[in-house]
Structures are given as structure tokens and as C-alpha cells.
């Protein structure tokens, strides 16, 4: 999936000096093969970048293209289809349904995409060691556990591009490694690539491309 940011300036950064940015007010093209690391201090628009690509925000000047189509022309149903089949997104605030169990949160997504069997979903949970929490309401889990559930949910769909917004902020090294291994293998399987927003860590992922905002 090809992405093209052409002279995009987010409304909140209009007054800022964007000369050093590789993303804002310049021409940025990404294409799948290597992962991209969005790197900057907070407040430079990492989350905003991902939200533009997922149709959650549109407060920018310039043009953004997905596969050569200007996303400003997408309708609500276009976005729904993209979210269902083309682009997966893990928001920083996770967006889990608090009063539903771990299992129901996952099924809520898989029901829509029918992408994995129940057994496969259980395998994902086992990978992260949260099988025992399966029937607990989400809000009884620790933030770290919630992050893992949200990551699994994000992966329960076909996609060509995976957007991850600081997905490992509350995970220990071991789980981060499990996470990256899972993301890598699934991206390979889906023939997709990912863009990840971080506060500057590369989590030991080699052969990535870092984008400075």
C-alpha cells in the first residue's frame, strides 16, 4: 500500500517551525517492505499522522494519498471498508469496550472480519500469557494486559498497512519481543508493513526506516 503526504501541515502545528520535519510540509512516500518508525518528542503530531491515515481527523492543509487516491474524497463507507480490509490501527488509548470481557472485545472485531478462528484467537492470547483473563471485563486488567489485548484485536483483520501508536509503552521487554515477533510474522503473512509511533526507541528492530517529525 502506497502512502503519499504532499505538503501536509496539521492545523495544530501551523505556527511551528517544520523545516526539520521529514513528514510535515514536505513530500513523504512510504511503500511496504520495511517498517517505519515515527520518531519525535511528544507534541510533534505522531498520533495525528496515524489518525489522518485512518480517517479519524482531517484538520490539515495539503494532500494525503492512499494508493494514489486523495483521502479527502473518501466517504464514510469508504473509510469503513478501509478499516475493515486495508488498514489496521492500534490507538494509543486502546479504545477497548470497558464493560465487555477480553473475549467479547476480540470477537467484536473478528465478527466483522471473520479473519481468524476462535482457536487461533486463543493461541494469540496464549502467546501473551493472558488466557486466564479471557472472561474478565477489560477494566479489571492492567494497562499492560489491556495493551496486549488491543494489539491482538488490531491484528484480527486483513490489512496492507498496520498503524501502531506507542503500542508497548506499558510492556516489559519480553512481551515487547513477543509483540514484534507477532507483528512481523503477521505482516509477512498479510504482505503488509507497519508504521509505528514511538518516543524514539527502536526496540531493537533492525532494518527499519525512521521518520523524524
Amino acid at each position: 500500500m502506497k502512502i503519499f503526504f504532499k505538503n501536509v501541515i496539521p492545523a495544530p502545528l501551523k505556527e511551528e517551525d517544520l523545516n526539520s520535519s521529514e513528514v510535515w510540509d514536505s513530500e513523504l512516500k512510504t511503500e511496504g517492505s520495511v517498517p517505519y518508525f515515527l520518531s519525535s518528542n511528544s507534541g510533534k503530531g505522531k498520533s495525528t499522522f496515524l489518525k489522518y491515515l485512518y480517517g479519524l481527523r482531517n484538520d490539515y492543509e495539503g494532500n494525503i494519498y492512499i494508493d494514489e487516491k486523495d483521502i479527502a474524497t473518501f466517504s464514510l463507507s469508504d473509510w469503513a471498508n478501509i478499516r475493515k480490509e486495508k488498514v489496521a490501527y492500534l490507538p494509543q488509548d486502546l479504545q477497548l469496550v470497558d464493560h465487555l470481557s477480553v473475549w467479547d472485545n476480540l470477537i467484536l472485531k473478528n465478527k466483522l472480519t471473520s479473519h481468524y478462528s476462535e482457536k487461533e484467537i486463543r493461541d494469540f492470547l496464549a502467546l501473551f500469557n493472558i488466557t486466564s483473563q479471557i472472561d474478565k471485563p477489560i477494566n479489571q486488567l492492567s494497562i499492560g494486559q489491556q495493551q496486549r489485548v488491543a494489539l491482538i484485536r488490531t491484528l484480527l483483520q486483513p490489512f496492507k498497512l498496520l498503524l501502531l501508536d506507542e503500542p508497548f509503552s506499558h510492556l516489559d521487554e519480553e512481551n515487547i519481543k513477543i509483540g514484534f515477533d507477532l507483528i512481523d510474522s503477521i505482516c509477512k503473512k498479510e504482505d503488509a508493513y507497519y508504521i509505528i509511533a514511538t518516543l524514539g526507541y527502536s526496540y531493537g528492530v533492525e532494518s527499519n526506516k525512521t521518520l523524524l517529525l
Binding site: 485512518y54 480517517g55 463507507s77 473509510w79 469503513a80 490501527y89 467479547d104 465478527k111
Partner: protein, 397 residues
Amino acid sequence: MIGKAFKPTGNKKTLILSSIGTIIGLCLLLIAVQVYTDVNYAIDHNDNDQYLVIKKQITTLNTIGLTSSSFTKEEIKDIENQDFVTELAPFKSGNGVEVMVVMSLEGGNFPPFSTLAFFESVPDQFIDVETKDWTWKEESNEVPIILPNTFLDAYNYGIAPSMGAPQASKSLISGIKFNLKIRGEKGSTVFYGRVVNFSDRVNSILVPEDFLNYLNKTYGSSKEIKPSRIIFSTPNKSNPAIESYLNQNNYETNKDQLKENIIQQVTSNLFYFLVAIGLIIVFLAALLFLLYSQIIINKSEKEIKILLLLGYNWESVTKSIILLFVKIYGAVTLISFLILYLFKVFFDQWLANKLDLNLPNSIATITFAVGLAFILLFLLINYISISKAIKNIAQPK
């Protein structure tokens, strides 16, 4: 599954209140429509046509002979041409014939009684009572007579008590033979009269038409006289067109019938009032339901955002909320029609007992149509409002 994502609103009161409101309003509307349909059906399918007797107002001008109280041929033609008239007949009356009724009953305390009288006749189909022997053959000297009920009442409650005479039952009177002394231009004679029945509808002394014709031909004058009263049948004598026509032409009818008219008008105004109240309640309830849908959306806004984030389109999210309203409205409609049905059972029974009217037992198609139309309208309004709110949430900011 989507439905599970929504938070329970915990706002049962609004829901119950709007449901009850809708049921009350809808019941009022449905009952009004059903009763209206039934009453129209009864009027259309009632063999008992309603009858009106009309006459011209008597004024001083009549008394001094400047205008006539009788109807001209043109006037009769005009009445006959009115839409509300199904059948019409002028009263036929004695023409230059004087009738003296002489009654003397032997062997009782009845006072001897004689009075001047008159005869009239109307075609048989306008007479409201069954009559055996309602025929007269030439040369027979016994004449059947129909008296108005008011005459009997006048005797029984007026004349008899004031004279200390016994009251008379219908069957007693039917057994009495009167002497009818007839005197006209061409001579005089005596017949025997016998009362065969009493009429509520026709306030006159009726004899068979054949007898009256014979009397006029044999003893009366040959100059034509015009009728001064007209009887006609109509499907509905409360039809406002009748009253305005009568007023326009200075015709009169029985005050009782006018009173009935006023009552019917008040009733039908009450009916429109009911419909209006029903409509107001229904629309207030619809407003409450709209409010309720907004509460659901506000309470679950976070969950709706998540659903949209996961890739559910706004249509399926809207659908899952609408589904709740389909269930509520379904229950409300069902209950309303149940109440309507119970009402109809009692109403039909009441009509059958009181007015001897038999209505179709089923609820009218038009009532179903009105009920369904309202529910569909409710759903449509909710759908528009909910989908607008969901689309608004789905829009990139």
C-alpha cells in the same frame, strides 16, 4: 454482537413513560378511526332509512292568505333532487271533505266523544309500523286507521285524568269502532273506523291511500289541492346539508329531530377533539422516544466510536440501535391493537344491544393501515435522527 457493545442506559423511566404515552395516544387514534369506520358502515348498511317530515313555516302572512303553506310542484321537484333524499312523498289529504269522528262505547265509563278530524295518507313504505289489514276495498264500510302515538298519550295523560275517565290501552282502542261521519260537496255518508296501529313517525291520522282517493272522488271537490307536508327518507338525517337546506327555504321539521342533530354534531366534534388529543399525545411520546434515542447515543458515544474505529459502518451501528426501537414499537403496537380489539368487542356488543346494529367483528383495514403508518412514521423519524447522530460521530474531525 454490536448491541452488546452498547451500555445499558438505565433510563427505564423515560422508556416506560413514552411507551405508555404512545399506547394511550395510539389507542385513542385507533379507536376513533375504528368507531368512525363502524358508524359509517352502520349508516351505509342500515336498511332502516331515516325519515323526516317537513312543512313550511306558518307566519302571519299565511294567516291572512298572502302566502301559501303548501308546496308547489317545482319545490317538490327541487327537494327530490337533493342528494340527501332517497325517496320522497307528499302527504295526500282530504279534499273538501269534512270528517267528524263520533265514539260512544257502551258498557264502560268512557265519555261519549266526538271531534272534527282530517285524513291523510302516505305511501305504505313510509309508514313505520307493521299493518295487517292496511287495505281498503271499495264498498267496504270499515276503514283502518293509524293514529299518531301522541294522540294516545294526549288522551291517556291529558283528557282521561282530567275527565275522570279510564285510560285506554292500545289493544283496547284497537277494538273500538268509531263512527266516521263524512260530509262533502257531493253528499255525506258514514263509515266505521278502526285503529289498527300507532305511529311514531307520522304525526297525522292516516287512512289507506285507496280510501282517501275514493273519498275525494266521491264526496270531495274536484279542484286540486297542493300538499302541505312532505315525507322523505334519507340515509342520515344528521347530515348538516339537510339542516342548511331547510333553513334556506324556510322549511320546518320536528324539533326533536333537530335536537338529535345537535347532539350528533356535538358528538362528532367531541370525536375530532379525541383525535386531536390522540395526535398530540402520540407526537409528544414520539418526541420522548427521540430524546431516549439521543440518551442512548450520548451514553454509548465511546462505544459507538469504538465500533466505527473497528470498521463497522454507520449503517450497521444505526441498525443495531433502531432494532431496539423496532422491538419497543412492536410491543406498543401489539398492546394498542389488543386494547382496540377488546374495546371493539364491547362496543359491538353495546351497539347490538342498544341500537340493534350489527357490525363486522374484525378490525377495519383502514385502522390497521393507520396504526402501521404511525409506527412506520415513528421508526422513520427515529432512523433519520439516529443515523444523523451516528454519521456525525463517524465524521473525521
